[in-house]
Each structure stands twice: as C-alpha cells, then as structure tokens.
C-alpha cells in the first residue's frame, strides 16, 4: 500500500522534524500532541526547521558542499533549488496540529510514534491508540532504546507494527533504521521502507531486533575502547584520533565525535554502569577524568571546548 496520510504522534525534536520532512516530500501530515501547550511548542519547532530548510536550500545554490541530502539531489541547478525552496512554506502551512487522537488517526496510512522515551508512557499511548485505528493503518515507533516487541501487543496489530528510527537533523543525517520484531509482516516492512525512501531517507534495513540498532552497536564499543585508552593515560585524545584518521582515511576519530555527543551525555550514561563506581575499574577513572573536564566547562563542541578547542577555528 502507498502511504499518503502520515500522523506523527509527538511534536518534540524528532517528531517535528519527521512531520516537516514528510510534508516537504508531499505527504499529508498531522501532528498529534497531548496538550495545546505541547502543540504550541511543536509549532515553534516546525517554523524553525522550515526556516532552516529554506536557508540550506538557498545556501546550496552558492556552495553545493552545504547540500543536505534530505532536501535536494546532488548537482541540483539553482532553479531547481528555488522550486524546492518554494515548497517549504506550503508544506509547513499544510501540517495539521491536533490534540484529538481519534481525529488525528481517522484516515492515517501510517502513525509514527515519537512520544517520550519511556516504556510506560509509550505503552499507555499504544493502549489509547489501538481502538482508534482504521484497519489499514501501519504503526512505527521511533524509539532509540526500546525494542518494538515490547509494544507489539499493545498496538493491537503486531503484524502492522515495527520500528523506524530516525537520526537527529533528519533533513541532513537522512538514515532511517528499519527494524522489525518477530511478528511484523513482510508487507508492512516493505511498505515502511518504501515510505522512508519517499521522504528522502536512506533506509538501513535490519532483519531482526537489535538493541542500539546498527549505528550505536558499532559506535558504543568503539567509543568505549577510545575512552579506556584515554582514561588509562595510554595516549591523549588527539593522538588516538590521529591514528584512526590516518589509518582509515577517515575525517573524524572517536573523540571528535564524542565532542558532538557532549561530555555530560557520556558521563550520564556512564553513571548507569556499575563499573564506573568501582575504584579499581578503568570506567571509574574515566568518570573521574570526564567530571574534571565537565567541571571546567569543557563539555564539548557546543561549549566551544571539549576534547578539542573549537574557539580558534571555524568549526
């Protein structure tokens, strides 16, 4: 089935981005929010992202290297970029916002659940959603850390349910990890992958449930190895990045990327690791060193300083 009517449940950072991207690509989009206040915040976000779309499309005319993959094709001519830019305002204006879930999903081909990352709150949402859905509707969760099988039963339609996980700034980082649970039908999987492509995402197809999907499954052990080398004073972050970049012709090593993740985020995740509380363990030394940097305000890229100093260069 072709997906034309998309309902995004939750107008937070990712929800707003998914809604605008779907509207930009010509789909009929509804955003459901729990309260009027949450919809007001979603509106502000949508307007801000719409402005970003227009700015990036405009800037791409002068400098193709700033192109965002979700917005335009490589080598698009200035007139094509102008035509795309002209689509942004109508797309934004066409997004319907409502607190009425029954109305929001009444003719939905696809519901994208982007509510808060809590098992209980997502389960409550699905219990509320299930009786309202037309038979045709497919449902996906954008959850980062909760596997779809946790919610399959609550949706009332396990065969029409799976995960579709977007990266942040989806207009630029346009991967969408598609992950089924054991009960998802092939038809649903195929339709969801086709939908992802229709909104200019590059589908990343998983064949089974995997905590962290693919990207985090690769990143976390790599980050962990780099962090341990630093925590044990084997080498400094710049040196560790250097050997990686030189050996693999890669533009960025682990610490450059950890600066974008931000040190407080790394520290917070580390606190849930029992090893970080055992003074004999490398993760304890890592926590100490991270805390020292955070206490000095060196929290990462956004602060201008983390493992690297960003105040002297254009980055």
């Amino acid at each position: 089935m072709a997906i034309k009517n998309v309902t995004v449940a939750g107008g937070g950072v990712l929800g707003s981005q998914i809604a605008l991207q779907s509207a930009y690509c010509g789909l009929n989009v509804t955003v459901w929010g729990r309260t009027d206040a949450s919809l007001e915040r979603a509106k502000v976000r949508l307007e801000r992202y719409a402005k970003t779309y227009e700015d990036v499309l405009e800037a791409t005319k002068a400098d193709p290297s700033v192109r965002a993959r979700g917005l335009s094709d490589e080598g698009a001519a200035p007139e094509e970029l102008d035509a795309l830019k002209a689509k942004v305002a109508p797309a934004l204006a066409g997004i319907r916002l409502t607190t009425d879930l029954a109305e929001a999903v009444a003719d939905a081909d696809l519901v994208i659940e982007a509510v808060i990352e809590s098992k209980d709150q997502k389960t409550d949402f699905y219990n509320m959603l299930a009786p309202l859905l037309p038979e045709k509707t497919l449902v996906v969760t954008n959850s980062s850390y909760l596997l779809p099988s946790l919610f399959a039963e609550a949706t009332g339609r396990p065969e029409k349910f799976m995960a579709l996980h977007f990266a942040n700034d989806i207009y630029r980082g346009n991967t969408a990890e598609a992950m089924n649970h054991p009960g998802t039908s092939q038809e649903t999987y195929d339709a969801v992958v086709t939908f992802a492509e229709s909104i200019r995402m590059i589908p990343i197809c998983l064949h089974r449930e995997q905590f962290g999907y693919l990207l985090n499954s690769l990143l976390l052990p790599w980050f962990g190895a780099a962090e341990n080398l630093w925590a044990d004073d084997v080498a400094d972050p710049q040196t560790i990045d250097k050997v990686w970049c030189l050996a693999l012709d890669a533009p960025r090593g682990p610490f450059r990327i950890l600066d974008t993740v931000s040190l407080p985020t790394i520290y917070a995740v580390l606190q849930s690791n029992p090893d970080a509380h055992n003074p004999e363990h490398v993760k304890y030394r890592l926590a100490q060193k991270l805390k020292e940097k955070i206490d000095r305000g060196e929290t990462g890229l956004l602060a201008g300083k983390g493992f690297y100093d960003y105040t002297d260069d254009a980055e």
Copy 2:
C-alpha cells in the same frame, strides 16, 4: 643524540620496508639477516620496494592523488619529484647486508629489531645482541603483539629500549606507534620519535604499554561488533558499512576494511577464541559463516571477492 646509523635486524616484509625508507631519507642503513638465503630474499624485497618508490613518485607527477605520504610532500613540483626519484637507486645501493651481527651493530646509533614474532626467538636475538652493542646504541622492537617489557632485561639496556611499530607499506601508511615500557628513559623516547619523523613517519605517541597499541585497540572491538551483527543476521555487511559511512562521512566501513585484512586471517585469529568453539555463542556462528565464505574462495580483496565483489569495479 641524532640517529645516523641504523641497523635493521631482519629483512622480512617490514624489515625491508624500514631499511629502504631509512636509506631513502639519507641514513646509513645495514640489514642483518640470520643466513645468506634470508639476505637474498631481503635483497629481492628491497629491489621490489625501490621499484615501487620510483613508480609512485613518477605517477604522482601526473596524478597528485596517488601521492604516498612517506615519499613526497603535498604539492611537490614535477622537478622535485624527479629529484626524489633519483635518490631511490643510490639509497638502495647504499644498504649494506650482512650476516655478521657484530659488524652490523658496531657503529649503530639505533637497532630496529624486526625478527620473527616469537617471544623465544626475539629473546634469543636480544641475548645475542646485548654483548655486541656499543654503549650509545638505542634499540627498538617492531613487534605487533609482544610488549617491550618482555624483552627489556634481555637487551641489557632497558633505559635505551622501547617499541616502534610500523604499519605495512610504510611509505604510504606512514604511522609509527612509539611505545615505552616503564624503564625507558625520556631521552630514548624523544630520540626515537625524532628518528621516526626523520624518515617521514608520523609518530603516534603512547605514554605506556598497551596491547595492540592504539590502532588495534580501536579496530578490534569495532570489527567485533560488526562481525557479531553479521553473524546474528541482524543486517548484511553492505548495510552495516553504509550506516557507518553515512553517519560519519567515512570512506569505508568495517567490512570493507575486513576484506583487506582477509577472511582467513580473521578466521585464524577467531580460532584462538574459546567462544568460537561454543555452539551457543555468536562467535561460533561467526566462525561458521566465515568458513562458508572461505570455502567458496571469498577470502577478501586480493581474491577479488570477500564481503564485497571487486571483480566489477576498479578497486
């Protein structure tokens, strides 16, 4: 102290490369081999690498993207490249080959041990070397997997001994991981790092002993995570590489690199892991899947097919 006289012990793949690179950069180089036959093989290797140096320098004139960092600077003019090319033959001709260890090290500022990767054989070599060394001589091991502290005592000069680990094809992959053991003096460390720079290596400075140095410490958990995703059929190698490359703007993902490592090498290392022999473990499933590919002749880049098929493209 400035290092002018370099003796490379062992004329194998890495030993030959280190010898030629040092001679190319103007140092006095001696290669010591255990037998005349081993020196004959070293001579063939040296000649082959010298031809490669000349070919790469010539090709760089027409296409700067083929430049090897160990051979020429970025943006070198054609006449500079010709001048460098003219240095190769005299450098090769100036390398002294001998089976007489006493003679080989009689005036050595630095001995680079590149003998076979065996603790016993390296220890025997150091026991033989120690009484022959002038007081001034520094000694480094190029070992990949054996830490320098294992041999510090056998050298008879722990303060003048450390590890300097070269990558393969050092004229191109010109990183040199410098790793001290607890007894290495700062003076030695500094002199060895300066030597590495003098032969156009980029020194990667470790502050303490680390199994696998930095690069393998990062690569192995990353490879392991990617291999597990494939072994458990979560996704195919191309998809796993794709998400990595897209998210990190990286030219190559783990499976592309594993194809250059070669599947038989991965399989051989895996056999020493007890988990690979436990049918309940993901490493067992990994071993099965690797063996299937190896049995089909899909052993990696050199075979034309591994995780990728290289027969259709220029790679």
